[in-house]
């Protein structure tokens, strides 16, 4: 779960990290008040989970409170990549002497939190990583010992020459690591970690991603979820414990398992069709999930055919069959449904479907070919 910039700022601030001042506003008046309090040129930034906010006009400079009010009123309510801006962050347009990068990510290879720092921070950090990788210093932190003081100091020495700044940066690294571990981080970034003209080291921008798997046990983190900043279909899918990503095709897919779901989409494409979505109903299925999946898929007007591809293992195919039957009773499904079922409790599933006059195929390629053909007919 991505946190908004303002949420990430608050979380890192709570960990003791010195942040550039600023705040979040939901109205133009609040934005003006924040600008007045900051007392210098500010940046007004849209708080939506979408890249390219700047290009879309969601990030603007304002020289005084009146301008901040104007910019905020323009940005609030704006739609960026389908998401309506509900809040803006107002921060000083900082006077920066140097920009460093601090990032922590859960690293697959070392199986540890990987701390990456670079003296060449700012927007071009990925280019730095690609072209001058020696400017990025990495440390996989052993969670048994935590980030040790000398490790942070060693990394901070690659960032600054002034030793007060070295100490400040080392301290911030320790705080960032703590915040990451205590809040179930998948990613934590400070970019840039800026040096001000008076020599202070402050975090100018913050990014924090929480591991979705933490949310069940961490109500405090789950409460940070801002559903207004997400696509409604994805919100509905998540509430139904489904993994759903909307695509541009017309073959709606309902599959169990992410790998098989991707392979199904690939096969739709292979046979000349276009998948309308990625949808994984997950492992331990129940009929209710299938009902929700159908509801989400049928709400997409582009979908011309629905393709089930279920290989029962921990998923029981009879649960899926029951879900299909229940759904068609609860709401009208006008689209053709192609069902491929095999594996656990397959016989029971086929019986259930036959009971309502539906058929099930056994072979994945047959089912995909048929769905693609039906989608073409429907055009």
């Amino acid at each position: 779960m991505n946190l908004h910039e303002y949420q990430a700022r608050e979380l890192l601030k709570a960990a003791g990290i010195p942040m550039a001042e600023g705040g979040v506003a939901a109205t133009p008046e609040e934005a003006a008040r924040l600008a007045e309090h900051i007392g210098q040129t500010v940046v007004v930034k849209a708080q939506v989970h979408a890249g390219g906010r700047g290009k879309a006009g969601g990030v603007k400079l304002a020289k005084n409170p009146a301008e901040a009010r104007d910019q905020a009123s323009r940005i609030l309510g704006m739609t960026i990549k389908g998401l309506v801006v509900q809040k803006v962050l107002v921060v000083p347009a900082a006077d920066i002497v140097s920009e460093c990068y601090l990032g922590l990510i859960m690293d697959r290879e070392s199986q540890r939190p990987l701390l990456m720092v670079s003296p060449a921070g700012g927007v071009d950090i990925e280019e730095v990583a690609a072209k001058t990788p020696e400017k990025i210093h990495r440390l996989a932190v052993d969670p048994r010992y935590g980030l040790l003081p000398h490790q942070a100091l060693g990394l901070a020495l690659t960032l600054y020459r002034n030793f007060d700044q070295v100490r400040a940066a080392a301290k911030i690294m320790g705080q960032l690591y703590q915040a990451f571990m205590e809040n179930g981080g998948s990613l934590a970034e400070i970019n840039p970690l800026a040096t001000t003209p008076d020599g202070r080291v402050v975090a100018l921008d913050a990014k924090f991603v929480v591991d979705d798997n933490e949310l069940d046990r961490r109500a405090d983190l789950a409460a940070l979820r801002d559903e207004s900043a997400e696509a409604p279909s994805e919100v509905a899918a998540r509430r139904a414990s489904l993994t759903f990503i909307k695509l541009d095709g017309n073959v709606g897919c309902v599959v169990n398992g992410a790998g098989l779901a991707m392979a199904t989409m690939d096969l739709v494409k292979y046979y000349g069709g276009e998948p309308a979505n990625f949808l994984d109903i997950g492992g331990s299925s129940n009929p209710e999930k299938v009902v929700n999946a159908l509801r989400i898929i049928t709400s997409d007007p582009a979908v011309k055919v629905i393709l089930f591809n279920i290989f029962g293992g921990i998923t029981r195919t009879d649960d899926v069959a029951n879900g299909i039957v229940t759904a068609t009773r609860q709401f009208k499904v006008d689209l053709p449904i192609v069902i491929r079922l095999t594996g656990t409790n397959e016989r029971e599933a086929v019986t259930i479907l036959q009971g309502v006059g539906m058929q099930a195929l056994n072979d994945m390629d047959d089912a995909v070919k048929r769905a693609v053909a039906l989608a073409k007919e429907a055009k």
Binding site: M106, R108, R112, D216, L260, M262, A263, F278, G343, M364
Partner: protein, 291 residues
Amino acid sequence: MSVFVDATTRLVVQGITGRDGSFHTKQMVAYGTNVVAGVTPGKGGQTFEGSVPVFHTVAEAVRATGANSAVIYVPPTLAAGAIAEAADAGLRLIVCITEGIPVLDMTKVMPLVRDRGARLIGPNCPGLITPGVGKVGIIPGSICAPGRVGLVSRSGTLTYEVVNHLTKAGVGQSTCVGIGGDPVIGTNFIDVLAAFQSDPDTDAIVMMGEIGGTDEQKAADYIAKNVTKPVVGFIAGQTAPPGRRMGHAGAIVSGSSGTAAEKIAAFKAAGISVMERPMDVVRLIKERLGK
């Protein structure tokens, strides 16, 4: 010989009384796996299905039954603790089926697993099966057949799809291993490839990968250098949209976008025959085995 599971396996099921644990224990027992004990804290002293004794703790189960392997079906927030318990009890093989374990939990428990010298498979995986010998996890036994092709996969149901094709075409399997798709897993492609390479009962290998990360590229590199047996591979996700980027850090750490195209190119460069469709596995395996 077979890989990871064999006739000496004495299995304890952690979470045996739960919905998934009880269902799959019956399946494993029916398949002939030697399930010697179950563990559910609070239900020690019960007997599962009239034959498998249930204990409060893994240590008790080991003392009473000589269990040497574990399979875990406990809820996500308790699963890392279950892995630690199994490792502490001295079990040599621990298969964790549970999906949705917080990654930090895995990060913390992995050093303990290594300290204790245990092999963890998963989490968030279907487990493994040595057809005709035994299965640990949830891979349906009915779709497998004994034979000489080893299979390793990051995914669950896609594995079944491919195994199903093999079995229907009369190509049996030595062992099928689902390693799981989580960021932190106990056993990776290379571990299993090495086991297959040195297993005298395996003649060829099927490797099922996915988009994301660089594990497949590393495995391809390993195969080019260390695996002399023929390998057939698949990458799922050619049509998948690019994943949500994980900040700048995600790009910096992988130095790769982990696309299917990159991975397929790495496979080809390593001499791996690449399937376009799951069903292609049969044709390619037969080609590579010269049948």
